[in-house]
Point group: D2
């Protein structure tokens, strides 16, 4: 049996108790739609023993990315709990599964977020940072920003705020090779900085690290974006400038107006799409994103 | 000029605008006082250039550690802002200083917190963890818990919950050498685990790391404790068991009923007593703690 | 065209210049054969561009492991050079290949080496160490022994010499899990020590590291050994006790009297079976070892 | 009693058996003296327990740096042994001391080595590398060159041989800050590469690492050089080009014609001036170098 206290209106349990259905009435808004896309995720894992898992794969509902509809079908679970994810953006689902775990998620997202011109944005005075943004100035597991203070001063010391972020982004995009298979779940930004290769997760970690070393708050975003190759979950960074969070993709594959945010956190550890507290065997995993307007 | 919007009743600016005085009326409570102690901190730094600093040195006011009185005198600053610290425990002070920075902090704290018998406490089901506790299961800059899952299974797999925490604490206390000077601000729990030596910060990082690798939420606490040698700011861990946070000191120097918490965070990076965003020269720093009842 | 100045008698170039054949006359010796085994190695790689490679896959000819016969067939190369490998044990082959690189190596080795009782062997006085053994006391890329001095003192301080090596070997064998796929070519002994899992290379690195931290010289050996699962190149350690090098296998899979040494070095970096100075695609690699007497 | 089998003619034991005196008759040679300098080293350590130490502080006698005279006075030792150091360059002295250890070393060295124009030197074909040079292509404890292959290809891929070494040297000299106190004996080239600061040892490690990642053999040299600030033991790199070893100082403080080599090795671990196998307390250490011609 599946249930959720947090958002009961969204839940329509199927007759066999094995699925959760979320229906959201279409929004009437006046903004011109920017990009609308359809997301399909299929996961199939196998767990020999009863295994606690934490799932974070749904596009968050946010003012600048309303959901037209969303549905998640999950195989049987010993329990089900939805909790708010980091900074109140998106949800995490706790389950306990054994045997085959299958998840099918579909949604239609409209992204109304404009693409900012980062180079004109400023870092405000540090003492005006909101209390809950401060932690994004600090080093984290995969983003040891404390090691890079001399480096950013040396290389980017003539720039500040958004202009520095743009220079860092361009430098990463120009000098790093997108190469699946060379990094692991333990690869840090320091490893990637030296090796100059990796995947979206690694690129985002480097940008976040260099931003924090520059005293610019930065966080990790797990996202959906059309046109990413190979099509999969994608990861980008957000930097805090002029009092708001702004998306930056150091791989150059996605722009802010066609990104659907799943969740945010200090680094990849905090927004894994699947965290399993026991051994889980991957059988199949596909992510597809279609832009029906195109 | 110094000011704070958050807790205006505490602030009595001195005539020259260079100091902040906090007075709290004595509390009338019925709990037997457990331990009362007087804290004095004196800091003296010198900054050549205008330097943003973040100060976190005041004992937090908490239900189980009421403050009888507290006072902080600070030298001149270009601005002053108080913000709530991590998890709403304690405060941080933002300042911008140039030249000599002097801080004198005094307070009387009463600690009414009982010492729990950790070995009887349980880890609850993961899906009942509050959303804001989840991040304390994840690896952080100085606590790469993802590396230690095989180790804790191998060495402590026969124990769970509080009993496991006690075994980890005893193992650290029994096998690690308290040795100032061998670790730096970049030393991680992995370094300390291998080198078997360090200071309170390092001991706490190891305990936190092994707890998180055991799927027990754990966080870092910056504290005051009488009897710590050498007398200085002290650091311990907190673990989340039976729905609450419990103090553990793997150095064996302090117990829960004589610890005054300053702040909490994922690891030392989040609760440094002084974070300086430019070069700061240490001239003097003393911490003294007296227990007047003794 | 293939040639070698070092051991010209071994070389019989085939008519198309693409192969090297080594024939060694049977030895007449009076030692009882201990273990005789037949080694077959097949390698198939593909290099898009002209690629310098260094091959180290032949059983070394040593007093306690005479070769009955040996043969190596190599595909075409722009040049060919044989050099003595580290400490004069075994050979390395330099080649420059493009396109398909195929290597077939077969040999029969007799191992007459006794199995020592390590626990009775002593570390001699340091100042009597031969000058060329000293480097095996020092940390190397994968064996950061300088980090482990407190640890070995704490855990093995009551033992010395061979008795300590035996205790370290037994501890590794008893507490580490042999698990292919969790380590990479960049995994160090420190990583493995913490994660408690890996393959033969990783186990050997940990033993070498803890021996060196104990001021016992230790080096890495690339070897062939029958009965290793999965059958592949194997790696063990050698420690220097009572004035000689002694084999130790911390995986427990092989003993000194059934190990054929290929080469030795400070750690895995120095005795890789194939070092490629450009991109090489693995197509096939098999190692088989038969013991005809059994 | 002190003695040495290796170079008995150099030894004049003092009456109390506590010192070793080396006298070398002046050389008659026809080369114009390039630079002559007088070296004085004074060490004073204290060891509570009997402690094996390894000393490597004497200028090596080499064809391009003849010694006019040399003298070393050592306090009492339980034994004394001289061994050839790495690659047969210079000596190491083994001693066992307890209580106060005092060493006074003086020598006059003439450096006749020309300063090569590195940019015209070539890397020869790999297969012609001497067998004992190969290890200087491999990563070592403080020089994890395997991590930097993409980086050197990306940044210096348009250059080869000596021209690449010059570009790397200039880049380090131009972008790194010489800053005592920020690195420790465990700092690797990877740390320094990221932090962009350190001392001569760290600068040399970075150059060696980037050379090896470029398939150019490189080793670490412990040296004396006049004009180094602060005056102390100095460290530089040697790269192997056109069949010979060439000195490079990435700090820019010394040039090949005014450097007296003490010893060489894979990295700092192999040529420490003092390696102590027990706790040693530093009381005093001075190095002075005078150029009498100036």
């Amino acid at each position: 049996m599946i249930g959720t206290k947090d958002r009961p209106l969204w839940l329509h349990a199927t007759s066999d108790g094995s699925a959760a259905l979320f229906l959201i009435p279409p929004l009437t808004r006046e903004l011109d739609p920017q990009v609308i896309f359809d997301i399909n995720v299929h996961l199939h894992y196998r767990m020999a023993d009863p295994t606690d898992i934490l799932l974070q794969i749904e596009a968050a509902e946010l003012p600048d990315q309303p959901l037209h509809h969303a549905n998640i079908d999950l195989s049987d679970t010993a329990y089900f709990a939805r909790t708010l994810a980091e900074d109140g953006i998106g949800n995490r689902i706790w389950m306990q599964v054994q045997g085959d775990f299958v998840c099918d998620y579909t949604s239609r997202v409209e992204v109304t977020r404009p693409v900012p011109d980062l180079s004109n944005l400023q870092t405000g005075p540090l003492h005006l940072l909101p209390g809950d943004v401060f932690k994004y100035l600090m080093p984290s597991r995969y983003c040891p920003s404390d090691e890079f203070q001399s480096y950013v001063f040396e290389e980017f010391g003539h720039l500040s705020g958004g202009a520095r972020v743009v220079a860092i982004r361009d430098w990463i995009e120009g000098h790093f090779r997108y190469l699946p298979g060379v990094s692991t779940s333990q690869t840090t930004a320091l490893d990637t900085f030296v090796q100059r290769q990796g995947i979206c997760r690694d690129f985002a970690h480097v940008l976040i690290t260099l931003a924090r070393a520059s005293a610019i708050p930065a966080r990790f975003c797990s996202v959906f974006a059309p046109g990413v190759t190979p099509q999969d979950f994608h990861a980008v960074a957000q930097v805090y400038l002029d009092g708001a969070w702004h998306l930056v993709d150091p791989t150059g594959m996605a722009s802010a107006d066609s990104i659907a945010i799943i969740g945010v956190g200090q680094d990849a550890a905090h927004v894994a799409f699947l965290t399993s507290f026991n051994y889980a065997q991957l059988l199949e995993q596909t992510v597809s994103i279609d832009v029906p307007n195109l």
